[in-house]
Symmetry: C2
Subunit: 110 residues, 2 copies
DNA sequence: ATCATTTATCGTAATATTGCAATGAAATAA
DNA sequence: TTATTTCATTGCAATATTACGATAAATGAT
């Protein structure tokens, strides 16, 4: 026990949950917001911006990368991360559809 | 260690992360979808619908209730859960704003 | 009152997440 | 070459999550 029973659920349910989990930490929200604001940034900037240790930031970056939400390109000794536009759009649509599946069905005009 | 450093982040970052965490499990997505489809339901229905034990479903329902996303009303020995409309709308707006903060800033037309 | 039904809670085990110091790896600068 | 800088990875400790059996609490039925 202690492990999510993925096989019990649909692919969509698992996908929504997994992407929600990717953004289910304030540090990762902060990272994404910083990436959006500065259009790109590096690990070092984030360590100063957020108060967490370098190893911890790196770990959060990896999770966001594994979820496909960001991508990094190496520039010398630095790494330039930015939002993965296509994945971001896909996430937006997926969540939008999920949230609207409620309001749509209860909207008296439909 | 092992505990999220909430104090390092803004209230908004913590709120988005916390709500994302509330839906960051396929069982809770399945529960919400079932509530939306049937417009209301009870614990027992969900145990049959989803393959998890009654205690586990009850636990997930509590998490959704604590996040404010659903509310339950007692009907005899049963409990009738439904989506909390206002909170759902708030969640939708919060996520919509977050997702659009990227596309807006990168839209060449703005 | 007794029993059945339904949901919540408790206790516990297995696993996952969070955070960081220490160390590695890779490029640049001296 | 020998530092220095920057990021990734490893290993570990603390805490959180997931799941379920057992049990409690509350209502309704007999």
């Amino acid at each position: 026990m202690g492990v999510t029973q993925t096989h019990l659920f649909t692919e969509e349910q698992n996908e929504i949950a997994q992407l929600a989990k990717a953004i289910a930490h304030p540090a990762r929200i902060a990272i994404l917001q910083h990436l959006i604001k500065t259009k790109s940034c590096i690990n070092g900037d984030l360590v100063l911006e957020i108060g967490l240790a370098q190893a911890t930031i790196s770990q959060h970056l990896r999770e966001l990368k594994e979820a496909g939400l960001i991508q990094g390109s190496i520039e010398g000794t630095r790494v330039n991360y930015c939002i993965h536009t296509e994945k971001w759009s896909a996430l937006k649509s997926l969540f939008q559809d999920f949230f609207e599946s409620y309001s749509d069905c209860c909207d008296p005009n439909c």
